[in-house]
């Protein structure tokens, strides 16, 4: 229904960081099959809480694939807290904009990233190594 710009198409054609990850620090999945978009994001986080590796899998339209792809590029090297501050709006902007319809329905990549980060944080807490609860270094 809508025309994607060249940057979106470039990410659709050559999505960065597609795939699954063995032994991730966190995994997040958002979306729902009845809306037609499901994104799964895997992150690897180092001791300084930086995202060192990221992989995604997406069932969805061109916008869903492209936003997933660019969000992985944007997140690598960021801390998990920086990643939590990223918004779907920023993702769309970094792609040079999305068709209006896609802004609503397929722009979930930041949410998927957040979900992965939250999973990581939850695991950390479970391990008793939640960083701000310092003490046992």
């Amino acid at each position: 229904m809508s025309v994607y710009n060249e940057k979106v198409m470039e990410h659709f054609r050559h999505p960065r960081n597609v795939g699954v990850m063995d032994d991730p620090s966190g995994v997040g999945e958002v979306g729902n099959i009845s809306c037609g978009d499901i994104m799964r994001m895997y992150i690897k986080v180092d001791a300084s809480e930086r995202i060192t590796d990221i992989k995604f899998q997406t069932f969805g339209c061109g916008a869903a694939v492209a936003t997933s792809s660019i969000v992985t590029e944007m997140a690598i090297g960021k801390t998990v807290h920086e990643a939590l501050a990223m918004t779907n709006k920023q993702v769309a902007e970094s792609l040079g904009g999305l068709p209006p319809l896609k802004l609503h329905c397929s722009n979930l990549a930041a949410d998927a990233l957040h979900a992965a980060v939250k999973d990581y944080l939850a695991r950390q807490e479970a391990l008793g190594t939640e960083p701000f609860a310092s003490g046992a270094v």
């Binding site: 999945e29 099959i33 009845s34 899998q57 339209c61 869903a64």
Partner: protein
């Protein structure tokens, strides 16, 4: 890059002979058909001749042929026009769940205006049941509108049987034949319908021009008001260039129809066989009672728009019933009505063949398809979950 157009159900290129027929009316023979002088008379003659051709092609009387601006307008005039004219007789309308939005949304609108609408279900092959149709009719039913063939999955409906039942009960019967005219034989007398919609751009004619057939004696009111063109059922200066184009396109489509059907069905079945050879790909719609050019499949684990874009990158133009291409969150209402899951519906692909397609085109599609499907499946979280 090689380009293969497989979206003839969406629209078709205007046939070169149709363009040639239209050109003289753009600049030299440009008069307003309502003008008394020679420019007007020449234009009127063109419109009259076109009306005769259309009438002949669909088995109607020329006075039963009304030119409109396309399929959507024909559907709206038919449905709203009869609803207005017959509201004293009743307020009940019967249609199906798989109609085009031009019919469905018009029925929704009438439902908001105090009419009652029954939306008939379809079976898993996409067919409306004649028995269910009959059972849905009520004493206050004034109008039934069931499409001749579905635009998404091509199932051809038993119009003749339903029209006969409607007639016996004095219910006006309309069919949206936008997808069938030019593809399979369409004769209003044989179908026994009171009204029929068609649109030129689906059979190698221009966009923005269509016909509503209205059988003599049908009670209907116009929706627009103005000049006395089209006997006041559709006022406004006639688009005589479009009218000439529509008539020429219909003439061409009718002439070679049988041979073309055979040729296109052969390509279709070759394409279906090739696609179904891929793992976890299913055919949607009736295997034989379907439009010659229609192929509709569901490809598991992948989403339709991604398929379209991937094929487009290879020069192949197709469409899908994915929500992403419909601008809504819901995928195709047609596929859901047939009982497909959301995943199947989201992963649907429509490939519609036309007179310009060849066996090489089909081979080309079948050669790129496996790689595309595999790549998207590798990307899909559903594929890995399975």
């Amino acid at each position: 890059m090689k380009k293969v157009y497989l979206d003839h159900a969406a629209t078709t290129p205007v046939h070169p002979e149709v363009i040639a027929a239209m050109l003289p009316y753009l600049h030299d023979n440009f008069g307003n058909p309502s003008s008394v002088h020679s420019f007007g008379r020449d234009a009127r003659k063109a419109v009259d001749e076109a009306r005769d051709k259309v009438a002949k092609a669909i088995g109607a009387d020329p006075r039963e042929v009304f030119f409109t601006s396309g399929g959507t307008e024909s559907d709206n005039i038919a449905i709203q026009g009869v609803a207005l004219a017959r509201k004293q007789d009743g307020r009940h309308i019967v249609t199906s769940k798989i109609e085009h939005h031009a019919v469905l949304d018009t029925c929704h609108y009438l439902a908001s205006q105090g009419y009652e609408v029954t939306y008939l279900p379809v079976d898993e092959k996409g067919l409306v049941s004649v028995d269910e149709f009959q059972a849905a009719l009520r004493p206050d039913t004034i109008l039934a509108t069931i499409m001749h063939a579905n635009n998404e999955m091509g199932a051809i409906q038993p119009i003749k049987e339903m029209a006969a039942i409607a007639h016996a009960r004095k219910i006006t019967f309309h069919t949206d034949a936008v997808q069938t005219v030019g593809s399979i034989p369409v004769n209003v007398k044989e179908l026994g319908v009171d009204m029929l919609s068609l649109s030129a751009h689906k059979f190698y004619g221009p966009k923005g021009i269509g016909v509503l057939y209205i059988k003599k004696g049908t009670r209907i009111k116009p929706l627009y008001h103005g000049g006395s063109q089209e006997r006041k059922y559709r006022p406004g200066t006639e688009n005589h260039v479009g009218i000439v184009g529509l008539a020429k396109a219909l003439e061409l489509a009718t002439e070679g129809l049988n041979a073309r059907q055979v040729q296109i069905i052969a390509l279709r079945d070759k394409l279906i066989a090739g696609l179904l050879a891929l793992p976890e790909v299913e055919l949607n719609g009736h295997p034989t009672q379907r439009l010659p050019g229609n192929v509709n499949i569901s490809v598991r684990y992948v989403e339709g728009e991604s398929l379209i874009l991937s094929l487009d990158m290879q020069g192949i133009a197709v469409s899908s019933g994915s929500a992403c291409t419909s601008g809504s969150l819901e995928p195709s209402h047609v596929l859901l009505a047939m009982g497909l899951t959301h995943e199947q519906a989201h992963g649907s692909l429509r490939l519609t063949l036309g007179i310009d397609n060849t066996a090489e085109d089909v081979d080309y599609v079948l050669s790129v398809m496996p790689g595309i499907v595999e790549r998207l499946r590798q990307m899909s979280p559903l594929y890995h979950k399975r």
